[in-house]
Amino acid sequence: MLAVTACLVPGAAWGVLLLGPAALRVLGVAVGASLAAELVVQALAWRRFTLGDGSALLTGLLVGLSLPVYVPLFVPAVAAAFAAAVVKASFGGLGCNWMNPALGGRLFAAFSWPVLLAVRPQPAAGWLRLTAGLSDGSLLGGTGTAGLVSTLLLAVGGAYLLARRIAAWEIPAGFAAVFALAFWAFGGLPAGLFRGDLPSALGSGSFALAALFMATDPVTSPQGRGARLAFGAGCGALSFLLRAFGGRMEAPFAAAALMNMFVPLLDRWPAKRGPR
């Protein structure tokens, strides 16, 4: 958990550097709310305190990174508290939740305050042009999420997690492959098939966050290579559908949360048996 958190830090730091104190406030409020909610729930339920396992910290950071920086601060506060208290704790705490807590918190915000979260143009700063050269202009697509700006750094952190095998590579692989294929084939319609704008699709921060850090949560993802690839592919397909027909920036989050529901089914995928 702490390793995953550490892998988010470069992306988060870059976002704070670019977007200033506003980003820091969102991240700080989300982390604080998540920690506080866990503490309160465990005190009320007379359970052992488990802040030390780093799970609440990670949840808060993910919720903060997935929200735009211009939202009123009660949004990250409520979203992160919902994630820790309802999505995780009410099912029995770490290891027992069926949906990734950060995904749950992020979607709770999306459904509760759609207007506050709507895409707003970002006031251009001198800094931003610099990052535009790094990958693609669409990275800055105007959504203004601290995480989105730092897609590349997130990808680096995610690559480290995959290399250390803390996260299963099959999930982001399936996710990215199907999402990219669908976007390339159908993203350009009605202009024509195979004319989708790939960089803007794969470069979005919400995609990187969902594919590398949220869908790969071992608690809420299946076991086994086949099941994991299918899980990732499902995330990719749903992300495309939700984005194409919903136009929402939280499409990858919603897709991953929907696929969380299929995990018990995917865990019935027959395991490859050993030599007996």
């Binding site: 705490g93 071992p218 608690v219 076991q223 086994g224 050993g274 030599p275």
Partner: protein, 426 residues
């Protein structure tokens, strides 16, 4: 020499920790003042008790008689008087009737080496009879005679010692390779084929050299194996040696595996009419001042063996290996035919056992040699759904402990699965 072979999936490489005893010659342990001899030191039911309270027994005299195909005779490991007949608890938590003998009288067997008999003159039936009379039991708990009753096939010498600390087999190969291979030749003769494969881990250089010398001209095939736990599992060993799957039934594989200590016992039972009343046991761990391989009498209390090697303050004492052994709650537990190690571990040597929730990381599934998902099985059993656990392959589990070894949440997976299997069997 060819590339070391191994099994296809899973497994771990625990720290070796063998250096303390790997270079030391096996030495004789003191004879205990009392020997507590369980009548069940084998896979089958407990042997029928042949002695009465107060009776005097000679060294090597049978005190228990085999009652079924998987049970074996038990012999008095010291001469003396039968002081008690009682139920005791074995390290694995099961109970067994046991005979307590207190030392008295003369040693009629030890030190009187008979002229080795030429076993080649004996028939297959006579050889099997001698193994039964000697109460020879292999490391898996099956009597050697029962394993060798199969028709045809290959003898596989299981010289794999992939558990940490243990060096007894390695030392036996270095010091007594000729007798071990003689045991293998007898086993092959009983099977009627004469074919023998010896599986030794490739990093045990001294043992390999010693076996190669002793096997020169015998036609035995020496196969180096990759040092990887649990390579010593019978079916994984056969798989590594032959590339052939056992399909769930070892009997169909055409191979009979026997441990190094067992082969030595076979040799002694046949050529010296010496019953299995001693074994080599590695006494090691940081809480032992002078780690050693001891040749000790069965029934010797674990406490006596530890004292002999200088016992410090152990955080835990384990009977058997660090991976497969059992933590002891009493040091009165006696040495039995299957106990290959006694480990007195310091606090530093055992991982802290603070259990945290399972986060489904899947490492247990990655290392399971049988492709099971131990954490899943554990959860099904915890919920009382034993049938579901069985349908997901619970019975294939051999309790090798790889899953518990890698589990970052320190979940007692092996205990859980073992209990689940026992309940299913009951």
């Amino acid at each position: 020499m060819s590339q070391p072979r191994s099994f296809p999936r899973g497994g771990v490489r625990p720290p070796e920790r063998k250096s303390a005893t790997a270079g030391l010659p096996i030495r004789r342990a003191c004879v205990p003042a009392e020997a507590l001899l369980p009548l069940r030191q084998h896979a089958g039911r407990a042997a029928r008790c042949l002695v009465r309270l107060g009776e005097s027994v000679a060294e090597g005299q049978p005190i228990g008689r085999a009652v079924d195909g998987l049970s074996a005779d038990v012999h008095a490991s010291i001469p003396g008087l039968v002081r008690q007949l009682r139920e005791i608890r074995l390290p694995d938590g099961t109970s067994s009737p046991a005979v307590l003998v207190s030392l008295e009288g003369e040693f009629s067997r030890t030190g009187r080496v008979r002229r080795p008999e030429d076993w080649k003159a004996l028939s297959r039936g006579e050889l099997l009879q001698r193994l039964e009379a000697g109460g020879v039991v292999d490391q898996d708990g099956k009597p050697a005679a029962a394993k060798l009753r199969a028709e045809g096939g290959l003898v596989v010498v299981n010289a794999v010692e992939s558990e940490p600390y243990l060096t007894g087999d390695q030392r036996l190969l270095v010091e007594r390779a000729a007798e071990v291979l003689s045991g293998a030749a007898i086993a092959a003769f009983i099977l009627g084929t004469g074919a023998v494969q010896v599986g030794v881990e490739a990093d045990k250089k001294e043992a390999l050299r010693s076996v190669a010398e002793a096997a020169a001209g015998s036609g035995f095939q020496l196969v180096p194996l990759a040092p990887r736990y649990p390579q010593g599992e019978e079916s994984l060993l056969i798989l590594a040696l032959s590339g052939q799957r056992t399909g769930g039934r070892l009997e169909d594989s055409g191979s009979v595996t026997l441990g190094v200590g067992t082969l030595l016992a076979i040799h002694e039972a046949v050529t010296q009419a010496m019953p299995q009343i001693e074994r080599v046991v590695t006494v090691a761990g940081e809480a032992v001042r002078n780690p050693a391989n001891l040749k000790a009498r069965l029934g010797t209390p674990v406490s006596a063996l530890l004292e002999e090697c200088g016992l410090g303050r152990p955080a835990r004492v384990i009977a058997g290996g660090a991976m497969r052994g059992f933590a002891l709650d009493s040091l009165d537990t006696p040495l039995t035919k299957d106990m290959n190690g006694i480990l007195a571990l310091s606090r530093r040597e055992i991982l802290p056992a603070v259990r945290t929730p399972c986060i489904n990381c899947g490492r247990c599934a990655e290392v399971c040699p049988w492709g099971l998902r131990p954490a899943d099985l554990f959860k099904w059993l915890e919920r009382g759904e034993a049938a579901e656990a069985r349908s997901r392959g619970l019975e294939a589990c051999t309790e090798c402990g790889c899953c518990a070894f890698v589990c970052p949440a320190r979940i007692p997976l092996v205990q859980g699965l073992r209990e689940g299997k026992r309940k299913g069997a009951a």
